[in-house]
C-alpha cells in the first residue's frame, strides 16, 4: 500500500492537471493557471513520494519536501486569490511575493545539508525525512507560513464561495462542488499538520482522498447544468 497510494494519487492528480489546463486553454483566467501549477506541484510531491518508496534519491527527497510540504497549498491558494480578489493588482502583488518566497524556499531546501542517515524505503518519507534533511529555521518557518497562506486561501475561499451560492439559493451544484473542494483540500492540509505532530500514518491516504474529492468538486463546478429557461447562461468559473 505504501507504493500504491502515492502512485494512485499521482495518476488522479495528473488527470486533474490535464482537466484544469484544458479548461485554461479554452477559457483563460489566471486562477486556472495557478490551480494547474499548484496541482502539478501536488503531483510532483506524490510522485516523488512514490519514487522514494522504491528507491533512495537525495534529489527526490528535496523535490518531495519542496513540492509536497512547502509549495502546493500556497500555489493552489494563489489561484483562489485570483478568482476572489477582483481589485486590480492585489493578486499580482501577492503572486510576486509568493514567487520570491517560493524561490527562497527552493534554495533553502537545496542548500540544506543531508545528515547521511540511512533511508528506509519501506517507511514513509514523512516519518524519516527529519533525520536525513537538516532544515534550518528559515526552511521550517517558510513551510509553516506557506501552508497557512495556501490553506486559508484555498479552503477559506471554497467555503466562502459555497456560502455565497448557498445564501443566494442559486447554482446548487456549485455549493456542493465548493464543499467537496474545501473538504478535499483540508484532508492533506490536516494530514500535514498531523505529520508535524508525529502522526504520519494516514498522510498517503489523505493525499489520495484529497485529490479525488477536489477533482470531483472541480468537475462538478465546471459541469454544464441543464438550462432552466431559454435565456439561461452558464456562470463563470
Amino acid at each position: 500500500m505504501l507504493h500504491v497510494l502515492p502512485f494512485s494519487s499521482t495518476l488522479v492528480t495528473a488527470a486533474f492537471v490535464v482537466a484544469v489546463f484544458s479548461r485554461y486553454a479554452r477559457r483563460g483566467g489566471p486562477h486556472l493557471l495557478f490551480w494547474g501549477i499548484g496541482l502539478t506541484l501536488y503531483g510532483l510531491g506524490t510522485f516523488s513520494e512514490a519514487f522514494l518508496g522504491l528507491a533512495w534519491s537525495p534529489f527526490m527527497l528535496r523535490v518531495w519536501y519542496i513540492c509536497g510540504a512547502m509549495l502546493t497549498a500556497a500555489w493552489l491558494g494563489q489561484g483562489t486569490m485570483y478568482l476572489l480578489v477582483r481589485k486590480p493588482g492585489v493578486a499580482n502583488r501577492f503572486m510576486l511575493g509568493l514567487a520570491l518566497v517560493s524561490l527562497a524556499a527552493i534554495v533553502s531546501v537545496f542548500l540544506a545539508p543531508m545528515t547521511g542517515a540511512l533511508y528506509n524505503t519501506s517507511l514513509p518519507a514523512s516519518v524519516q525525512y527529519k533525520d536525513i534533511l537538516t532544515r534550518g529555521p528559515l526552511t521550517i518557518t517558510l513551510t509553516i507560513l506557506l501552508n497557512i497562506y495556501g490553506t486559508v486561501l484555498l479552503v477559506g475561499g471554497a467555503l466562502y464561495s459555497a456560502f455565497l451560492f448557498w445564501r443566494k439559493r442559486v447554482l446548487a451544484h456549485r455549493v456542493l462542488a465548493n464543499v467537496l473542494i474545501a473538504a478535499g483540500a483540508l484532508l492533506p492540509a490536516s494530514a500535514g499538520t498531523f505529520v508535524k505532530l508525529g502522526l504520519a500514518d494516514w498522510l498517503y491516504l489523505s493525499e489520495l482522498l484529497g485529490a479525488i474529492l477536489m477533482f470531483i468538486g472541480f468537475l462538478q463546478a465546471t459541469s454544464q447544468q441543464p438550462a432552466r429557461a431559454p435565456a439561461a447562461q452558464p456562470a463563470q468559473s
Binding site: 527529519k130 490553506t151 456549485r174 463546478a221 439561461a232
Partner: protein
Amino acid sequence: MNSPSNQQRPAGSTRVPHSFFYDRVVPALLVALGLVLLIVIVLVIGALAGVIPVK
C-alpha cells in the same frame, strides 16, 4: 474553486427549492469544515509559536 463574488443570479436560473439537505445539512457541513480549518490553523500557529511540540 469558483466564485460567486461578482455574479448576479444567472438569467433564467431558479432558486434552489427548500429541502432538508440544502437548508440543514449544507450549512452544517460549511460550519464543520470551517471549524476544521480553524483547528488546523491553530495547530500550525501553535507549532510555529512553540506551544505545541513539533517532533
